[in-house]
Amino acid sequence: MHYKLSKIAAHLACWIPLIYLIYAVNNRMLGADPQEEMMNQLGLWTLRFLLIGLSITPLNRIFKFPGLVKYRRMLGLYAFMYLILHISIFFVFFLETNIGYLWDETIERPYITVGMLAALMLLPLVITSTRKMQRRMGRHWKKLHKLVYPIAILGITHFIWQSKSDLNEPLIYLIWLTFILGYRVYYSKFKT
């Protein structure tokens, strides 16, 4: 019962950014270019969900708090939901639902190439995210889901690459990612 309640609360928390953004759009709170702001915010939330999910293992080991592990799958799936919305806004409003433009942009703009690559790599992880698939794939499942590390690196690269001149904010995310990856390297080398 306790487990279920906390899970419901976690689900609600993951919806809050989206509900807020929809509310903000309706009340003209996203500035003069709400399409762009919406797209940027959805992209940022994708990265945040991804990084929060990846922070669970280090937090677990440092603070001995194993209860968090059960939220990892959920965080990954919400990251994917925000990612789909992020890409949809880009496709509908910035590319006028033109597949040709999507192809051109993906090929010609390195930061979009990188972002798209990350999105495509996330797909197999989403498809194999069910418990059933996990059981069926056995040890291969773990191997496949290591893809999340390059995905996070590509995602942060996409974020840094598209920023015009102010690197302060993107670099905070880079530091976060470095901690997450660094801790894993440290742990596998010295703690096992």
């Binding site: 996203l30 270019d33 051109d104 942009e105 010609e108 390195p110 102010d166 302060n168 670099l171 905070i172």
Partner: protein, 323 residues
């Protein structure tokens, strides 16, 4: 005494030339109806009249204006913040008055420190409706108030060595918190912001110094009290809150070019055929109002639609190289 007269002259300009947003719309409705009725009479005459409404000088356009809200709440003014929505809030206390000083130096007859008051005395305030095309591929249509830059330059009497002009924005961390170092110690851009024009570009009748927008004095976030407008160039050329104008014999550098020479040039002419390395410049997102569907994608025009007025300035130049 002299002072008071000028001050009242300045406010007289303001009062007589105040054009509210609604009046703007009525005026434009009139132009539209005019061209529509002509269309009925004859297709050819209609087309001609529409062309006339576009105006051979380029000083105005019949396209729908961007709302006053988006014009004053979507500002790339990194001196305040890299967020486009924050400058409107942060500039609330930035209200330059007639004592605003501009240092005008270099290859001119009478260099010196001039006040906004002096500059307004030398020039006549008029209205211009220009397209503004940002290098980030969004655009607006904006009713400015201000004066033609060439009128000011003629007063300053540049000598024959004056080949370029360099402009500088105010540097002040108390006015502009964005000029402080960021969270991780980085400056967003090398301050103060600088921009430059070739003399013939500066003398083109389209080149304008805005002192107001939508009939009101220029709000801080739009670059009060003096802001350059070069409508056929990307928006970053339109330097804000000018405190220095230097007439030079050599081409000056400009801030965005220094920051990313591969991505931003000195000329920065709007050109749908030359992409920014990270995005296409072929089309633009025209922002009309702040609703979710207030933005539409439209094709970008060569020289932002001012080719008739400015293409001759770049004859024989390789615009792929001189982007």
């Amino acid at each position: 005494m002299k002072n008071r007269k000028l001050r009242s002259a300045y406010s007289a300009i303001k009062d007589s030339q105040v054009t509210s947003e609604s009046l703007f719309w009525k005026r434009r409705e009139f132009i539209k109806n005019l061209s529509l009725s002509a269309m009925g009479a004859s297709q050819i005459a209609g087309t001609l009249l529409q062309a006339a409404a576009q105006d051979a000088t380029g000083f105005t356009t019949a396209e729908p204006l961007s709302s006053e809200y988006v014009v004053t709440h979507h500002n790339n003014f990194y001196e305040f913040s890299t967020s486009k929505s924050k400058p409107a809030e942060m500039a609330k206390n930035f209200k330059p008055d007639l004592d605003w000083k501009v240092s005008i130096t270099g290859e001119i007859e009478k260099p010196g420190n001039y006040s906004l008051e002096d500059i307004l005395r030398w020039t006549n305030i008029e209205e211009r409706i220009y397209r503004l095309r940002c290098v980030e591929a969004w655009s607006m249509v904006i009713p400015w108030k201000g004066f033609q830059l060439s009128h000011l330059i003629n007063q300053l009497k540049p000598n024959s060595n004056a080949k370029f002009i360099e402009f500088e924005t105010l540097e002040s961390r108390s006015v502009f918190p964005g000029q402080k170092r960021g969270t991780l110690g980085f400056h967003v851009l090398p301050w103060p912001y600088k921009e430059g024009l070739r003399m013939d570009e500066a003398m083109n009748p389209l080149t304008f110094i805005a002192t107001g927008v939508y009939g009101k004095d220029l709000p801080g976030q739009n670059g009060a009290p003096l802001r350059l407008i070069v409508p056929w160039k990307y928006g970053f050329k339109s330097i804000k809150s000018i405190v220095s104008i230097r007439f030079l014999d050599k081409q000056p550098s400009n801030t965005w070019h220094k920051n990313g020479p591969r991505e931003y040039g000195f000329y920065a002419n709007v050109n749908p055929n030359v992409d920014h390395p990270r995005w296409s410049q072929a089309r633009e997102r025209r922002i009309t109002d702040e609703s979710f569907f207030g933005v539409k994608k439209i094709p970008t025009q060569m020289f932002n639609g001012y080719a008739d007025q400015v293409a001759h300035l770049y004859k024989g130049m390789d615009l792929d190289k001189n982007f």
